[in-house]
């Protein structure tokens, strides 16, 4: 490419082309060369021609003319030095640019060359790879073929073996028949011999065959032997059938006994199932399963039917279908119930600790921590304010002039401090008030709790009495009881938390105003906890305190949300719900108070 351009420029035989050729050939032309070159181009004699030539050339390339603009057509063209110089400069710039471009092109060329090499090597490698994989494929194909061959052989062998087995079995069978045949033949012969022997031995009045007995003894049963008659035969038959009958009767009795036992078990199970399952109907909202609801009602109907003892005494035929259906239904309910319980358990497990009181303690700790932090902050604020005051006082004593100078500032400062002080006091008062409200809530809750416990105890007692009486008509009570006993987790929980719950009321009863104590004994109940947390939450965002939406609580208390949710799931209907709402009322009050704060 390069050489071609060189040649073309050479053919032109123009000085510039020669020059360019020179330039191209030697990237860094020596000044000497340049000088000699120029001397060759322009001599003393042909200055004019050279100039005109150059002018022509340059104008053709778009440079301004080297000559001055002729004033008239006749006037001789004057060489314009400025134009020459400009041209020269422009040429030089151009040349530099060209050189740069050339360099770039060269590097690019080199790069391309190396790229090319790389690609070529890549190509070669890939080709090699292709070859090897092709070889591999061939090898695998060969192996496949061999394996197929082997497989075919094995199949053949298997078939042969099967044939062999078949053959052997046939042989065995034929041998067996042959053996049996031979046996029969032999036996016949043997029988013939036996017969013959019998005739020989028995029929010949063998004197020897005899019994020599001193005297005959009586029969074991004391009876005399009876003649064999048709009567005895009939009696024997009768006796035999009697024996058989007795055996069958015995077996039937046993089966009946077993059946009765099983029925009893079934009945008991059914009763227990009914008592266990029916209370689910009480909470249709929680157990939103409509299908089970209907099933339960069915089951209850069945229970009413089957509860009658007479049904159980019927033969299985008539009751069987009914019975199995009801059992199946109840079993299904039980299964779903157990599954539900399982789900709950797993959910609780996911949330970490199962026990609510643990969560409440955590909450309480968080709460106290927060309060402590606030107290700390307040203390610090007081300290800094005091320091500032002292400093200012000290400076005032030191320098009268400065004091005078700063008098106005000090006054201002004092004013501000006073303001702050009052603000702080107010805040403190608010805190106190808040605490008092908490203690009040605690007291109320404690009372509520106590009342609930009592209620529950009485319920339980009643239930127990009902249970022992086993009165079927009082199934309502039984149901409720089993609702409690059914969810054993909850029950356990209440059992565990009962001793601790008893404390708060006693404390608060004794000193309802003792706020610090009250707050410390608070953690026992989860409801209290939840109302404790809310105010703190709302403190941070003072927007409409009265309606606390879940969105508000979310950013601060994520874990709390979960815990409160679990609480609501596990909560029993009744007094606790009310307690919860009342607590929320108390803290809303405190919010209103807080809202006054700047």
């Amino acid at each position: 490419n390069k050489s071609i351009s060189q040649y073309t420029s050479e053919t032109k035989m123009s000085p510039s082309s020669l020059y360019s050729q020179q330039v191209l050939c030697s990237s860094i032309p020596l000044s000497k060369n340049v000088h000699s070159f120029f001397s060759a181009f322009c001599t003393e004699e042909n200055i004019e021609q050279s100039i005109s030539y150059l002018d022509q050339e340059l104008t053709t390339f778009g440079f301004p003319s080297l000559y001055e603009e002729p004033k008239s057509k006749e006037a001789k063209k004057e060489l314009n030095i400025v134009a020459v110089l400009n041209c020269m400069n422009e040429l030089l710039v151009l040349q530099r640019k060209n050189l740069l471009a050339q360099e770039n092109v060269e590097t690019q060329n080199l790069k391309l060359g190396s790229d090319m090499d790389h690609l070529q090597s890549c190509y070669a490698k890939l080709k090699e790879q292709l070859e090897t994989s092709r070889r591999e494929i061939i090898g695998l194909q060969e192996r496949d073929r061999q394996l197929q061959c082997k497989n075919r052989n094995l199949h053949q062998l298997l078939k042969n073996e099967k044939d062999e087995v078949q053959k052997l079995q046939n042989i065995i069978a034929s041998r067996a028949t042959q053996y049996n045949h031979d046996m029969k033949r032999k036996e016949r012969e043997y029988n013939k011999l036996k017969e013959r022997l019998h005739q020989l031995v028995m029929n010949k009045k063998d004197k020897k065959i005899a019994m020599d007995v001193l005297n005959y003894v009586g029969r074991a049963d004391g009876k005399r032997g009876s003649w064999r008659t048709g009567k005895t035969e009939a009696r024997n038959e009768d006796e035999m059938y009697k024996i058989l009958l007795n055996d069958y009767e015995y077996r039937q009795k046993q089966i009946l006994l077993e059946n009765a036992e099983l029925k009893k078990v079934l009945q008991q199970m059914k009763k227990e199932m009914i008592s266990l399952l029916s209370p689910q109907k009480k909470k249709p909202r929680e157990r939103a399963d409509e299908s089970t609801g209907t099933v339960i009602s069915d089951a209850e109907e069945d229970a009413g039917e089957l509860g009658r003892e007479s049904v159980w005494d019927l033969s299985c035929e008539t009751v069987r279908e009914q019975l199995t259906n009801s059992i199946r239904k109840q079993w299904r309910i039980l299964k779903s119930h157990v599954e539900k319980l399982d789900n709950q358990v797993s959910k609780v497990h996911l949330e970490g600790f199962n026990d609510e009181d643990v969560i409440s303690r955590q909450d309480h700790e968080q709460e106290t921590e927060k309060l402590e932090l606030e107290i700390q902050q307040c203390k610090e604020m007081i300290k800094t304010q005091q320091q500032l005051l002292q400093q200012q006082l000290a400076t005032a004593c030191d320098d009268d002039t400065t004091s005078l100078f700063r008098d106005c500032y000090l006054l201002e400062e004092k004013e501000r401090l006073k303001e702050e002080w009052s603000l702080f006091k107010e805040q403190k008062k608010n805190f106190e008030r808040e605490r008092r409200s908490f203690t009040e809530a605690a007291i109320r809750l404690g009372l509520e709790r106590k009342a609930f416990e009592e209620e529950r105890a009485s319920w339980l007692k009643q239930q127990f009495l009902n249970m022992t009486a086993f009165d079927h008509q009082n199934s309502e009570n039984v149901k409720l009881f089993s609702a409690f006993s059914g969810s054993s987790d909850q029950d356990n929980l209440t059992m565990h938390s009962r001793p601790r719950q008893k404390k708060p009321p006693s404390v608060s009863n004794g000193s309802p105003i003792c706020t610090s104590k009250g707050t410390k004994s608070l953690p026992a109940s989860p409801t209290l906890d939840s109302c404790q947390t809310r105010p703190c939450v709302s403190e941070h965002n003072s927007v409409s305190v009265l309606n606390i939406t879940p969105e508000e609580t979310k950013p601060n208390q994520v874990g709390r949300e979960c815990s409160s949710q679990t609480w609501s799931v596990a909560s029993r209907p009744g007094s606790q719900e009310g307690c919860y709402s009342r607590c929320s009322l108390t803290y809303t009050n405190s919010h209103v108070e807080k809202d006054d704060l700047p």
């Binding site: 079995q169 065995i172 049996n180 046996m183 029969k184 036996e187 016949r188 029988n191 036996k194 022997l197 019998h198 031995v201 028995m202 063998d206 004197k207 020897k208 065959i209 005899a210 019994m211 020599d212 007995v213 001193l214 005297n215 005959y216 003894v217 009586g218 029969r219 074991a220 049963d221 032997g225 009876s226 064999r228 005895t232 035969e233 024997n236 038959e237 006796e239 035999m240 059938y241 024996i243 058989l244 055996d247």
Partner: protein, 462 residues
């Protein structure tokens, strides 16, 4: 546990009377009757030849002594020593003799099984039963002694005849669907007769008393079949041991298989207890599993054979097996012995190609309970008739006892070696006769309570 002195014996003929008062033993041609408690000789009878078979009548009043070689049967009365009875079968010969359950008739089988002669001790009457079948167990009486089932063979077909024992009248006669009937046995309740085919074919047939076929059971084909059969005392189960080394339990309602007990040589179930008998170097102290010492002075212990004790082996364990020669007839394989405990709670079995081991199965749980591995092949075992207690003998001079509480190995004291080849329990379960080739002795166990206590202690020690 006390041992009596050693008495002479021949032919392993030593039997307790059914009422448990007497003990009869044979020494050559003499029959000695002893009081079980005092072991004093009450009667001594002299037979005409060496006794080959001896049997008490069911009422314990008579003793039957058969001398097969001479074709003779002699009967002795316990109440009247001067009373005697001799039955001569003459040229017909004699191969088997037994009492009928009423104790007043004797059933003699002639040579070649030509016939069975029923001799009465009350009357002169003699009955003949033709065509008895020569087989393993061709005669069987019901427990209550009312009926006799007899296998017969006529025209290459098997038949079963049921007789009323009181007057030997034929009650039922029916052919059985067997190739070659090998044995039969009444259920303890006397209402079902189990009939099984020869070992060439696995076939178990169950007939009602009135001859109806209740069920037929076959576990497999083409291989050697049934080897041993046992009814549970409650008649609820029929255990069938076969040559494939398995016991199959059939139930009495559907007569189908309830479960299958395999007897693999490797025991891997950790719930199974494996007691392994190990030798103990002689004068060492008594290990935890051997029984307390015998009354000092009365029975000097001369340790001619090494003592042994049981150790609880840790599972998994593999038992010693015998490679049976399958190209010979009657190969030593399969379940050769099986017996239910009297309360039907346990089943003891022996697999003949694991001859040193006794398997005890729990029938309530239908699973393997205990395996006892002895040092030498188990000769015989028998359950205590009163409680679940198993006595085992192996031909060594020891007796082994197992109960759910544990097991123990007891050296039989006495001069010289006393290999115990067989044993039989007294009906009360308080004593045990240990029979050797030439001698026998009695082994008195403590009262059942005492033993139970001792066993309990042993169990707690281990």
């Amino acid at each position: 546990m006390n041992f009596s002195e050693v008495f002479k014996l021949s032919g392993l003929l030593c039997k307790f009377s059914p009422d448990g008062k007497y003990l009869a033993s044979c020494v050559q041609y003499r029959v000695v009757v002893r009081d079980v408690r005092t072991l004093q000789i009450l009667q001594l009878y002299t037979c005409l030849d060496q006794v080959q078979h001896m049997e008490w009548s069911a009422d314990s009043l008579f003793i039957l002594c058969a001398m097969y070689k001479r074709g003779l049967v002699q009967v002795w009365s316990l109440e009247q020593p001067e009373w005697h009875c001799k039955i001569d079968e003459g040229s017909a010969g004699l191969v088997a003799s037994c009492w009928s359950p009423d104790g007043r008739h004797i059933l003699n089988t002639t040579e070649f099984h030509l016939r069975i002669t029923v001799w009465s001790l009350c009357t002169k009457s003699v009955s003949y039963i033709k065509y008895p079948k020569a087989c393993q167990q061709g005669i069987t009486f019901t427990r209550d002694g009312r009926y006799l089932a007899l296998a017969e063979r006529r025209d290459c077909k098997d038949y079963v005849s049921i007789f009323v024992c009181s007057d030997w009248q034929l009650l039922r006669h029916f052919d059985t669907d067997t190739q070659d009937l090998a044995g039969m046995e009444w259920a303890p309740n006397g209402c079902v007769l189990a009939v099984w085919d020869t070992c060439l074919e696995y076939k178990m047939l169950l007939y009602s008393l009135d001859g109806r076929l209740l069920a037929a059971y076959s576990a497999y084909e083409w291989s050697l079949g049934i080897k041993s059969v046992a009814w549970s005392p409650s008649s609820q189960f029929l255990a069938v041991g076969s040559y494939d080394g398995k016991v199959r339990l059939l139930n009495h309602v559907t007569w189908k298989m309830t479960t299958e007990f395999g007897h693999p040589a490797a025991i891997s179930n950790p719930k199974t207890v494996v007691y392994k008998e190990v030798e103990k170097s002689p004068p060492l102290g008594l290990g935890p599993l051997s029984f307390p010492p015998f009354r000092a002075g009365t029975c000097p212990l001369t340790a001619t054979s090494p003592e042994s004790k049981y150790e609880v082996a840790s599972v998994p364990i593999s038992l010693q097996t015998l490679k049976p020669a399958t190209d010979r007839a009657n190969p030593r394989m399969g379940i050769g012995m099986l017996a239910f405990s009297p309360d039907s709670y346990f089943l003891a079995t022996r697999n003949d190609n694991v001859p040193n081991a006794v398997w005890v199965w729990d029938i309530q749980k239908l699973s393997l309970f205990v395996v006892l591995e002895q040092l030498s092949p188990v000769r015989s075992f028998q359950w205590d008739p009163q409680q679940p207690r198993l006595a085992i003998c192996t031909g060594a001079s020891k007796v082994y006892l197992w109960s759910p509480a544990g097991c123990m190995s007891v050296q039989v004291p006495g001069e010289g070696d006393f290999p115990v080849l067989s044993l039989c329990w007294h009906s009360s379960g308080d004593s045990l006769a240990l029979l050797g080739k030439d001698h026998f002795c009695l082994c008195f166990l403590e009262t059942s309570e005492g033993v139970r206590e001792a066993l309990g202690q042993r169990a707690s020690q281990t």
